[in-house]
């Protein structure tokens, strides 16, 4: 297997060691782990099959519910999902390491999915080939419908295979899932940006359209010096770093000190990647306090363990440059004001404290991703006040007939498995609507 080195390094459990953990699973009735899983994976059953030596049967079960089986096992925040629900913890025991078991089983799965053949397949255009788009495409292909998958990038799996650091999710893991799905033969059109005019054409020429474009717009900053060389977008930085681990890009030259602006998982990933690549000093600048930080605790703890410095209630006032290159940042102290906006405590610059100067060579901006609101408006979608498409929570249908949406575009940034689930939901409901007697019977 091409993942032998991941087993040797301990990232993936050896099957024998997975069997040891599998024997700890009680096989709960109405299992809380399954209930906590967005795709409802039957965890006790796959673990039992593993335990009974039916590795292929266990793998088939995983992929049936979770087409990104190996990826989710490794990248899911399992402590907040399946493992967090494991009843063993009520007895003071460690949860069964469900994520690790899932990845091990998935990687050992040798099956390749094949699409069903049906007489009158519908044709569906899926825009965005990330977890949501893939989920939708997989569900549809399993029912025998034809799927054309469009993405502005040239690879499948979206951000999952672009920006998640290799130490958290090696490329081989995603590649294995895509190999299992390869037999579904989805038509993939890489490098295709869909304008709103093209969207109209797609709507006319396909039976249905799925929007899984994620949050593809980066929030802008407007401090002096943000155009200097050495000011990087976090997603670009993470993408370069991921390419570097595959020896497809040069190692980014970050200098001795890196300052990262933001408090989400992307900021934390960037901090850890910068630290692991040998940067002496990595400072995370976040405008609120640790309590408000949207990044997961597990990610924060990893960054803190590696010695990343966190400066709470601060922001970047300006970037100083020398010969067009970053030479320092001016850090402004913030303070809470008695006001809440968008459900979050608001902050303002503390007028009593002047900015402090921190010399650095690289600034990484991780202010978070947003949906491309203008584009969505141009498509004619009904949006919520916060700019998110209005979607039926069961069918994933938008305000436009035969147009469905799911993933980060709708959930505003959640987990891979949540996006996957929304895509699969959409695919399932499309199938029901398109296979109904008298043809299409969705809202129109």
């Amino acid at each position: 297997m091409a993942i032998d080195h991941l087993v040797r390094s301990g990232m993936v459990l050896k099957t024998s060691h997975a069997l040891m953990d599998a024997s700890r699973c009680l096989g709960c009735h109405d299992a809380p782990c399954s209930q906590a899983c967005p795709v409802g994976l039957d965890v006790p059953s796959f673990i039992r099959r593993l335990h009974d030596g039916n590795l292929q049967g266990a793998g088939a079960l995983i992929y049936q519910s979770c087409p990104l089986g190996a990826t989710c096992g490794m990248a899911c925040p399992t402590g907040m999902l399946c493992e967090g629900a494991c009843v063993l913890q009520k007895a003071g025991q460690q949860a069964v390491h469900i994520g690790a078991l899932q990845t091990t089983v998935a990687l050992n799965y040798k099956g390749v999915e094949s699409a069903k053949l049906i007489e009158k397949p519908a044709r569906v255009a899926v825009i965005g080939a990330g977890p949501a788009g893939l989920g939708c495409a997989v569900a549809l292909r399993r029912h025998g419908h034809q799927v054309d998958l469009f993405d502005r990038q040239d690879q499948l799996a979206g951000l999952v295979d672009r920006v998640i650091p290799a130490y958290r999710l090696p490329a081989e893991i995603v590649a294995h899932d895509l190999q299992v799905l390869s037999g579904l033969k989805m038509n993939f059109f890489p490098g295709r940006e869909i304008t709103h005019r093209e969207f109209e054409t797609l709507r006319e020429s396909y039976d249905a359209v799925f929007l899984g474009v994620g949050m593809s717009d980066t929030q802008k900053v407007d401090f002096p010096g943000s155009e200097a060389a050495g000011v990087l977008d976090a997603l670009d930085f993470l993408h370069q770093a991921r390419l570097h681990t595959r020896e497809q890009a040069e190692k980014p030259d970050l200098g001795e000190t890196v300052v990262i602006l933001g408090g989400g998982n992307v900021a934390l990933d960037a901090a850890v990647v910068a630290k692991r690549s040998g940067t002496a000093e990595v400072v995370v600048i976040y405008r609120r306090s640790k309590q408000e930080m949207p990044g997961w605790d597990s990610e924060y703890l990893e960054a803190a363990r590696l010695g990343v410095e966190f400066r709470w209630l601060t922001t970047i006032a300006a970037v100083e440059q020398k010969d067009g290159k970053v030479s320092a940042v001016l850090i402004q102290k913030m303070r809470f004001v008695n006001e809440t906006r968008g459900g979050r405590r608001w902050v303002e610059a503390d007028p009593d404290l002047p900015p402090t100067r921190v010399p650095c060579q690289t600034v990484i901006l991780a202010l978070g991703q947003v949906v491309e609101r203008d584009w969505l408006v141009d498509l004619g979608l009904k949006l919520t006040p916060t700019g998110i498409p209005v979607v039926d929570p069961e069918t994933r249908q938008t305000s436009l007939p035969k147009v469905f949406a799911g993933g980060e575009l709708v959930n505003g940034g959640s987990t891979i498995v949540n996006s996957l689930h929304q895509g699969m939901q959409a695919g399932e409901s499309m199938n029901v609507m398109m296979s109904g007697k008298g043809g299409w019977h969705g809202k129109s």
Binding site: L26, G27, D30
Partner: protein, 402 residues
């Protein structure tokens, strides 16, 4: 260690505690046995030996387990005799008695003819063995020549032959006690036990391993362990055989007046106490040592000692056979008293296994609520106790009077 005195006397042999190492790979060499004695074992029955004229060829591997690993249920072996013949074993007896005069050194013997049995026994006695154990129950077959073929695969499946061989051994042994080890693989073990008594045997050891097939390899279709594509019946031992061993000890204790040595699945001090209560005077251990080493003797002795003290007993001998009076026929168990399952909500972890077991294996008397709390319907509960057996949390479910 508590203060109760663990000394017992078995067939006239003084033991510092009731725990002996059973004849097995554990007792094959004096070096191993010496380490066992140093760890605290009261004695050992050295691995079965025979006359050098007999072939003893073991095929390897010879072990296979049921649920191998930390939850090993039972161990299966296709072992044969020690590869040391009688003279070498006698030298080991002499060495062990010289170095550990206070410990019991027995020797397990297996012969084919009367002359051979007599020679083996005489040599063992001359070497100073404290007792002779007659091995007539090996599932791999007993060695008998001529028209003395047993009514089964082993001598101990044939009462007439058991009596005969016991007499051969006892006649040659003189004052040295002869203990006969019996197989559970018989229709009525009390018949065989009576034959031992009839033949002049001094004691009975039960049980020998159970003849079995522990599994079949799904690639070669051969019984486990597979040797070059083939396998054979073997002797099954360990935790799983304890219920059979306890039943046999109780049956024999109720049938003949001979000191008994209990063996079969003793892993804990509780197991040991159970054998004493059903009539064993001393105990033998093999599989638990093969799995966990000689060191387990410390916990066995300590647990037994504390239990005796807590019950106000000063010696293991005081409890031997005390449970026999409680063993009655089914119709004599008190009937008609309603008990119900009671779940400790503080201990319950909400796995729902009791609910599933009761729903599909009993009387649909345990409900599983939305909050993952199992609740017993006292009307519907017949008190079978299945839920107690499947609950993963010790002490969480108990049967109580309704």
């Amino acid at each position: 260690m508590g203060k109760a005195d663990l000394q017992v006397t078995y067939c006239g042999v003084k033991l510092v505690n009731p725990f002996l190492l059973a004849s097995s790979p554990v007792t094959d060499s004096q070096e191993m046995v010496a380490r066992g004695f140093e760890a605290g074992w009261a004695g050992a029955v050295l691995k079965t030996t025979t006359h050098p004229s007999e072939e003893n060829s073991i095929a390897y591997p010879m072990m296979a387990g049921l649920d191998p690993g930390s939850s090993l249920v039972g161990l299966h072996n296709t072992d044969l005799l020690s590869d040391r013949y009688i003279d070498e074993m006698c030298e080991q007896v002499i060495w062990l008695k010289a170095h550990f005069p206070e410990r019991c050194v027995g020797l397990s013997l297996m012969g084919t003819t009367r002359a051979q049995w007599e020679e083996l026994v005489r040599k063992a006695c001359q070497a100073g063995a404290d007792l002779i154990e007659a091995s007539i129950s090996c599932p791999q077959g007993s060695m008998v020549e001529g028209d003395e073929q047993p009514d089964g695969r082993m001598i101990s499946q044939d009462a007439r032959l058991t009596e005969k061989v016991t007499r051969w051994a006892k006649t040659a042994a003189g004052r040295t006690p002869v203990v006969v080890k019996l197989s559970p693989g018989v229709t009525d073990i009390t018949r065989i036990a009576r034959a031992v008594k009839q033949g002049g045997g001094d004691g009975i050891c039960a049980i020998d391993s159970i003849e079995g097939i522990v599994g079949v390899d799904l690639t070669s279709f051969a019984p486990l362990p597979v040797v070059q594509g083939y396998g054979t019946r073997g002797g099954y031992t360990g935790r799983a055989v304890k219920p059979v061993a306890l039943r046999c000890i109780a049956d024999i204790a109720g049938a003949v007046d001979l000191p008994l040595s209990g063996v079969g699945g003793i892993y804990s001090w509780q197991d040991a106490v159970q054998f004493l209560l059903l009539g064993a005077t001393c105990l033998q251990v093999c599989t638990a040592v093969m799995q966990h080493g000689f060191g387990i003797i410390s916990g066995l002795s300590d647990g037994l000692c504390r239990w005796l003290e807590d019950g106000g007993f000063s010696s293991p001998a005081e409890v031997v056979g005390r449970g026999l009076g409680k063993l009655v026929q089914h119709e004599a168990i008190p009937h008609g008293i309603k008990v119900v399952a009671s779940i400790d909500t503080e201990l319950c972890i909400g796995c729902g296994l009791c609910h599933v077991a009761c729903r599909d294996g009993a009387h649909q008397a345990i409900f599983f609520k939305q909050d993952r709390q199992a609740v017993v319907d006292r009307q519907a509960c017949v008190g079978c106790g299945l839920c107690v057996q499947v609950c993963p949390v010790p002490g969480c479910i108990q049967m109580v009077n309704d």
